[in-house]
C-alpha cells in the first residue's frame, strides 16, 4: 500500500497508537514517519539523535541574516530539491539529505552544519579516481591559461593558437565528464 500521508512512497512502517483511549492504526513511509517524529522500535539509532541534529538546522542561513525584506521565493520554507523533492522543512526536521543534489540545494546550511557535526567543513581524505582525473584536468587548464598569457605577451602567436586549442579541448572534456 502507498503511504496515505504523501501518497508517493510505499508505507513500510505500521503501528498502533492509543490516543484518548482510541486505538488508531498508522501506515506510513519511512520519511513521513520520521517527520511525524515517531519513536519506532528496532531502529538502529532511533530518532533522538536526528531530532538533536535537526535542531541544529533550525537557524537562519547566513546569507539571509540582516536581510529580512527578502521576498518569499527566497524564503527557505519553499526551497525544494529539484532532483529528489526533499523540502527545506523536511530537511530541517529529519536532518538528512535525500540525494546528492540536496547538497547544493541546501548549500547555505552546509558549512555551519558540518562544523557542528565534524568541527570541519573540508574533505581531506580519499578522492575517487574519476574525480582525481577532473582535478588534474582543472589543474592542467590553469597551467595552460598561464602559458597562453605568456605566449601572447611574447607575441608568439602561432604557439599561443596551439595552446588555445588545447585549452578548448580540455574544457570540452571537462564538460562532458
Amino acid at each position: 500500500m502507498l503511504c496515505p500521508e504523501c501518497g508517493k512512497r510505499p508505507a513500510t512502517i505500521h503501528y498502533k497508537k492509543v490516543v484518548n483511549g482510541q486505538k488508531t492504526e498508522y501506515h506510513l513511509c519511512e520519511l513521513c514517519a520520521q517527520e511525524k517524529g515517531e519513536q519506532m522500535p528496532g531502529f538502529d539509532h532511533g530518532f533522538s539523535f536526528h531530532h538533536l541534529l535537526s535542531g541544529l538546522l533550525n537557524f537562519e542561513p547566513i546569507t539571509q541574516m540582516g536581510n529580512p525584506q527578502d521576498d518569499a521565493s527566497h524564503s527557505p520554507q519553499v526551497l525544494r530539491c529539484p532532483s529528489c523533492g526533499l523540502t527545506y522543512n523536511q530537511f530541517s526536521k529529519i536532518g538528512r539529505f535525500g540525494c546528492s543534489d540536496c547538497y547544493s540545494t541546501f548549500q547555505q546550511w552546509l558549512d555551519p552544519l558540518m562544523r557542528k557535526v565534524h568541527g570541519n567543513t573540508k574533505h581531506n581524505g580519499k578522492v575517487p579516481e574519476r574525480a582525481r582525473g577532473k582535478i588534474r584536468m582543472r589543474h592542467d587548464l590553469e597551467k595552460l591559461k598561464e602559458q597562453l598569457h605568456r605566449k601572447i605577451h611574447e607575441e608568439a602567436f602561432e604557439e599561443a593558437a596551439q595552446i588555445r586549442d588545447q585549452i578548448r579541448a580540455l574544457q570540452r572534456q571537462l564538460e562532458t565528464e
Partner: protein
C-alpha cells in the same frame, strides 16, 4: 543438526583465526558509505529506483569479481527472500545492520564466503562496504575495503564533491564515509571501577564508546565498541591511526588492571572465574544477561591462564550463538523467552562438554 555442524555454520570463517591482541580486542571493523550519482538515496527512492540500485550494483559486482577472490566467492542475498529468523541471524553475526533487516526496501547484501566482507545495498546509503577481521587489524580492514571501493568505482559513479567529499544520507557520515570500530573486552577495568573515568576521556578525543550487547549504558559481557565519530576533515589513515592509538592505551590499562587484580586478590578472582565456569557447565536455565556475564568471567580466566582446558574462541563463539536468532535456528523452531533460556543453558553445557572431549 549436530552441534558441531551448527557451530561450523554459525561461526564465520574469519572468527576462527586468532588476530593480533586478541586477548582484549575481539574484532576490528571498517565500514565505508558510498552513493551512486543520478539516483536518490534509499530514503527518497521509489520502488523502481530502489530496484535499479540493486541491479546496477549487481552488474558492477559481476563485472569486477574476477579481479578479487573475496568478491568471486561472494553471494548476493536479497532481504525479501529471507525469513525473519534468517535475517536476525545475519544481524547477530554483524553481517547486516538491524535497519537493513527490518526497514529497508530493496535491501540486499553481497556477503563473501568467509563472511569478512559484506556490502550492504539500500541501507541508509546505496552502498555500505564492510570488512570484519579478528583482533586489532584496522589497517588491513581499511586496505581491503578501499580496494573493493576502487574496483567498484571502475564500474559505478559515486557521488563525490571536492569540498564535502563522499556525499551520504546522514551528515554524520559525510566526507570519508568511514566508520572504523573495534570490539574490546574490558573485564578488569570494569571490576576495578575504572571505566567511569576511562569512557568520558575516550569520548573527549572524538571517539564513541558503547556497550555491544544490552541496552543503554549497561554493557553485557564487558564488551565495548569504540569507533570514530568525525568523518570529515581527516583522512581515513588519520582516523584509523587515532583510533588505534586510543585502543592501544585501553589495552595497556586493561592489562595493568589484570596484573593488579591477580597480584592483590588472586583467590577472589579465581573463585569468581571458576564459579562462573561451574554455572555455565551445569545450569539448566540461563538468560542472556547472566550468560554474557559468566562467559566474560570465563574468558578472562582463560586469558589469565587460570583455565587451560577451554579454548578462548569458545567464548567468542558462544557470545554469538546464545543470541535469540541463533538459539531458534539451532532449535529449528520459534521459542518464547522462557524456552530460549532453557535452550541457551543446553547449548552452553553441550559446547563446554565438547571442549572436554577433544582434550
Amino acid at each position: 543438526m549436530s552441534l558441531e555442524n551448527f557451530i561450523q555454520r554459525a561461526t564465520s570463517e574469519w572468527m576462527k583465526v586468532k588476530g593480533p591482541q586478541s586477548d582484549i580486542v575481539f574484532s576490528s571493523r571498517v565500514r565505508i558509505a558510498r552513493n551512486l550519482t543520478e539516483l536518490p538515496f534509499p530514503m527518497m527512492a521509489g520502488t523502481s529506483q530502489g530496484e535499479k540500485v540493486v541491479k546496477t550494483i549487481e552488474k558492477a559486482w559481476k563485472k569486477i569479481k574476477k579481479h578479487q577472490p573475496i568478491l568471486q566467492s561472494a553471494e548476493l542475498i536479497r532481504m525479501e527472500n529471507l525469513t525473519d529468523l534468517e535475517k536476525r541471524v545475519l544481524v547477530e553475526k554483524h553481517l547486516i545492520s538491524p535497519s537493513l533487516a527490518e526497514d529497508s526496501r530493496h535491501g540486499a547484501a553481497i556477503i563473501s564466503h568467509d563472511e569478512s566482507l559484506s556490502i550492504m545495498i539500500n541501507e541508509e546509503d546505496h552502498l555500505r562496504i564492510q570488512v570484519l577481521y579478528p583482533g586489532l587489524q584496522l589497517e588491513k580492514a581499511w586496505e581491503l575495503a578501499s580496494s573493493i571501493d576502487n574496483l567498484l568505482e571502475k564500474e559505478l559513479s559515486f557521488a563525490f564533491d571536492d569540498q564535502v567529499g563522499y556525499m551520504t544520507n546522514c551528515p554524520t557520515n559525510v566526507g570519508t564515509g568511514i566508520r572504523a570500530s573495534v570490539m574490546v573486552h574490558l573485564p578488569a577495568l570494569a571490576m576495578t571501577q575504572q571505566l567511569n573515568r576511562l569512557i568520558p576521556a575516550i569520548m573527549q578525543v572524538g571517539l564513541a564508546v558503547r556497550g555491544i550487547y544490552g541496552e543503554g549504558s549497561e554493557a553485557l559481557g564487558q564488551l565495548y565498541q569504540v569507533s570514530n565519530q568525525v568523518t570529515l576533515g581527516q583522512s581515513e589513515e588519520e582516523i584509523i591511526e587515532n583510533l588505534i592509538g586510543v585502543v592501544l592505551q585501553m589495552i595497556e590499562h586493561e592489562q595493568s588492571a589484570r596484573t593488579r587484580l591477580t597480584s592483590i586478590s588472586i583467590i577472589q578472582l579465581e573463585d569468581r572465574v571458576y564459579r562462573s565456569l561451574g554455572i555455565l557447565a551445569y545450569s539448566r536455565i540461563m538468560d542472556s544477561k547472566e550468560a554474557m556475564k559468566r562467559l566474560s568471567d570465563v574468558r578472562l580466566g582463560i586469558d589469565l591462564g587460570m583455565i587451560q582446558d577451554v579454548g578462548s574462541n569458545v567464548m567468542n563463539e558462544l557470545m554469538v550463538m546464545i543470541q535469540p536468532g541463533f538459539l531458534q535456528q539451532y532449535a529449528g523452531e520459534r521459542l518464547n523467552p522462557e524456552e530460549r533460556d532453557i535452550q541457551r543453558a543446553d547449548l552452553i553445557r553441550e559446547r563446554l562438554r565438547m571442549e572436554k572431549q577433544t582434550d
